[in-house]
Symmetry: C2
Amino acid sequence: MTTPNDPLVIFTPSGKRGRFAVGTPILTAARQLGVDLDSVCGGRGICSKCQIQPSYGEFSKHGVTVDDDALSEWNSVEERYKSKRGMIDGRRLGCQAQVQGDVVIDVPPESQVHKQVVRKRAEARDIVMDPSTKLFFVEVQQPDMHDPTGDLERLVKALREQWDLPHLEADLGVLASMQPILRKGEWKVTCAVHLGDDMFSPRIMHIWPGFYEGSIYGLAVDLGSTTIAGHLCDLQTGEVVASSGLMNPQIRFGEDLMSRVSYSMMNDSGAQEMTRAVRDGMNTLFTNIATEAGIDQSLIVDAVFVCNPVMHHLFLGIDPFELGQAPFALASSDSISLRALELGLNLHPAARVYLLPCIAGHVGADAAAVALSEAPDKSEDLVLVVDVGTNAEILLGNKDKVLACSSPTGPAFEGAQISSGQRAAPGAIERVEIDPVTKEPRFRVIGSDLWSDEDGFAESILSSGITGICGSGIIEMVAEMRIAGIVDGPGLIGSPAQVGTDRCFLDGRTHSYLVWDGTADGGPRITVTNRDIREIQMAKAALYSGARLLMDKFGVDTVDRIVLAGAFGAHISPKHAMVLGMIPDCILEKVTSAGNAAGTGARIALLNVASRREIEQTVKAIHKIETAIEPRFQEHFVNASAIPNSVEPFPILETHVTLPDVNFNTGGEGDSASGGGGRRRRRRG
Amino acid sequence: MTTPNDPLVIFTPSGKRGRFAVGTPILTAARQLGVDLDSVCGGRGICSKCQIQPSYGEFSKHGVTVDDDALSEWNSVEERYKSKRGMIDGRRLGCQAQVQGDVVIDVPPESQVHKQVVRKRAEARDIVMDPSTKLFFVEVQQPDMHDPTGDLERLVKALREQWDLPHLEADLGVLASMQPILRKGEWKVTCAVHLGDDMFSPRIMHIWPGFYEGSIYGLAVDLGSTTIAGHLCDLQTGEVVASSGLMNPQIRFGEDLMSRVSYSMMNDSGAQEMTRAVRDGMNTLFTNIATEAGIDQSLIVDAVFVCNPVMHHLFLGIDPFELGQAPFALASSDSISLRALELGLNLHPAARVYLLPCIAGHVGADAAAVALSEAPDKSEDLVLVVDVGTNAEILLGNKDKVLACSSPTGPAFEGAQISSGQRAAPGAIERVEIDPVTKEPRFRVIGSDLWSDEDGFAESILSSGITGICGSGIIEMVAEMRIAGIVDGPGLIGSPAQVGTDRCFLDGRTHSYLVWDGTADGGPRITVTNRDIREIQMAKAALYSGARLLMDKFGVDTVDRIVLAGAFGAHISPKHAMVLGMIPDCILEKVTSAGNAAGTGARIALLNVASRREIEQTVKAIHKIETAIEPRFQEHFVNASAIPNSVEPFPILETHVTLPDVNFNTGGEGDSASGGGGRRRRRRG
């Protein structure tokens, strides 16, 4: 019961305001007004999550003057907390500070339940914290022979009454451990509560005696064909506390997806072996990441996985047989909620697992995660999102419509199947420039900031050496070779005479280009062979023709912007990608990198459960294009085999670079560039 | 669209009627009217569940005349089914027979989805079939590259569209096995669908290719301290297809509940050992019962368990420590739904488990099951339900109010701790009469229909011999000894002189009574010692004082009827139980046996899911009485130690039997009858 004479409490940044009787704790006022002010202990002065910042003086904007004694005096609970843990000067505990007069209270971001996790890129949306599992401190009524309800039922009642939580179930593990914990905590406990989803009713996941000072964690995992990348997040703050990666142990069964599908077809228990391998790999990753973060692995209560459909099926223990042949039927396309135990994952025994929905038989939960992170469905302008990997996922759209497809680029962009290719690691050539006159290359290797023709370069690479060319390096290399007139449009490397340098040399029936000869120092001889050019041509043609197909379906010839995603996407030079004809012509500044967008999408789904429902809806609205049954895909592929393209114009690119009009075909070999179309089937998936 | 001229279809026994266009299948008409007519195949002429019985001729009651051609002609689908499987003459398949004219259609009980499972006892309610899991046959849309939903999503859609089922989830096992099954069945499959409960959303449990001809099964298990009894039920018909029992393997850790709680206190991993023992025992039972029924164990998709609180906790893996001391706090009192896998039970991998709620720390899910089976809360007259076992569960009430308590009778009624006691088995004395003049006994043993003084008795027991006295035998024995004046009210056996027979003999400091001397033939000498009398006095006093305490709380001195439950309850002679003072005075005809009411309650909960919600509500409304904190319990116990009782009158009993007014106390021993109160603590639980 408040009166017009009661003090006015104004909260910022929400602007919510109301009058409260003298003596009302700020936390109580905040709750009554629906202000987002955190608390785990429920106002008992234990958790310190409800820190607030009162402001004093005149606030003409709000029409109030805040006197120095607008709040009750600093008390012993606050003093104890501050001396023990520290607290920013001027801050108060919202549960201790009581209203005495008109006051303006700022709720700092870290005191908000739905705090924002700010992302580094300006165009990327922030993540609003709303995880599946939260901590709640409660006092539980003791058992009474006259009212013989179970301990669990009284705990559930306490959570309902003290936290407005719905009826909760408890996992068997909680039930088995609960009684001694309740007594050890003297009927005060902290509960980790999973707030429920489509699959599971809300339930108590874990109990600690008394007030639990620690946190609980979740994992966002990008399960790729080649690598598995995990991010361990604090479910209270959203912070990434550790990240770790691992080679996908399934690689021993086949480098690309199709060869793994084949392995499962050729071997009776092949699918089971691969399932076991990837789950074992996951557990290794989890141990590494928990060790790195210095936390107990069993504090991980939630995990979100994104992956392509074949990885998705093998991880779940589903034979990917059907994904290896038309009509590429997924066992399940919707999102999947499970217990981690069902997958044999060593997390908290009650931990939950969520897999994002798949878009189609070749467009997986990883593409859905990219869609969640990059939100093409919310874009005003037409955006092309390309997730570059062994398989490329491609999204094109704006707020009106989104199209998706996948394209089998193969592992060339990751440095595989390239004669001097290697994974991105110290010693790998990552940047290249070739002098158009002398045809001499200069380059930079990972681990050094110097170009190869700069002073001190040799010393700077002493420990790593120069070992090969990584994915982004090979893209720049081939593009620079094209700009310098070493490679022609159809993809032939010229002879020493045609090019005018003996860095070109006959290498079997075609020519190669010598980048670096380290043999004198016991190092490798790094060359680009014509076969390497062919591999890159096929990979980039697959990628481009997927994008172009989506543009056809959308009815456009240009896009407003391009987002390159994938761990490797971050390192691609937009100009060189465009010279290669890997992506459509676009204003260079409008080609940006989103880093590991699939991993970010997983993190969003981990930290904000509403986004799971959102992406489930988004995915249903995405138009799926199956490249395998689109005749124009083949046509685009053939055209895109040329560098940059035998048909499509690149007018914007032409304002930056002039490509020499050379042709090294002397008959018999020039046509083979388009012959790649026949081979790509092998890599399907 | 029907018109007033369309034929009228009248269904019996429901009386539902409506007009349908000529050519409408009877199954369609039934569905539109909401008539309960079964079908698994959805009207495809495969399952034959929709058999109906048309009637012809004049029906003045219904105001119609049914012509011979009121239904379409017998067709080839019906002919094929009848020749292959047989069908009662006159019956038709509801999905094949089409309306041609006015017709009266009887739906026989076996064609009803919610068929009644009739119980043998007149006063017991029938069970309406409504199991958790049902079979549905569906045709699934094939995958299409232009609409790349998963196979599961199309299966779920088919179940929704063809069966009006809600959105279904699928267990991982279904997901992993589904794709080849859909293709083997050529996109026609039969699904076992769990329709959902508080804990689990509706989900597909299993898939078979094509139409699955078999059934699915459920288990109703009564997990007692001494024995585990399981009933395997067909979830389509409700029929009990096999029953099997097993000694509870926990017996090696202690005969009664309290000794098992002690074992867990004294041994670090004691509770885990007992959990493992009972779960292993369950799996043995499941294997036995499936073998007996000749079914695959993995066809068991649901299981309901009833047990006392200590068994409940140990089965779930919860240390029963708290149940061994006041305030006897249950870990959980509500019902529990789990996956069988979580308990390590070898049933269908997705099988569900349901445990009925516990009523209080000493009144378990077994008492709840008795309440479900005997429904005191629906009784017009005041009924006392006594479930006799190592621990007695006692319910008293009517539709206004129900009270419950448990009482630690100990194992004497099961023949344990009795010098010549044994479990009910061939050779055990089960019926006794003692001549009040000669004091000579005659008896019957299990395995023979003859009394021991009848011709041919000796031959009839040649194979079994006479081996001991079972529970119901010892009750009759002590009661007959009291009637014959061999035992006095306080429970002393008289001397040979006092009784007038040398069947009474000095046996240490007290006297014993010789029932049978088989030593000449190498058999046992069967006697009743005064210590045996003491054990029975304590057991029956515990039982009576529990009942009497509930009567106090209810404010009554008499009850209208008594139901004796428990496997052993079926064999108790009401008159002898009343002579003993084990149950309150009551009209003998109003004392009936309910057999294993706890097991029946489990069966009801298995076959009718609505009854689970019902008993959960009922249990919440039951008033729990904790005998341990009721001072009057001790007083009742002392009074009830006498035979029949030192205070309470038994006026109805007196119209049947006159008990001799004898007293064999010659000083020093007579008081020990009431001394049992001190010892009963040991057996608590």
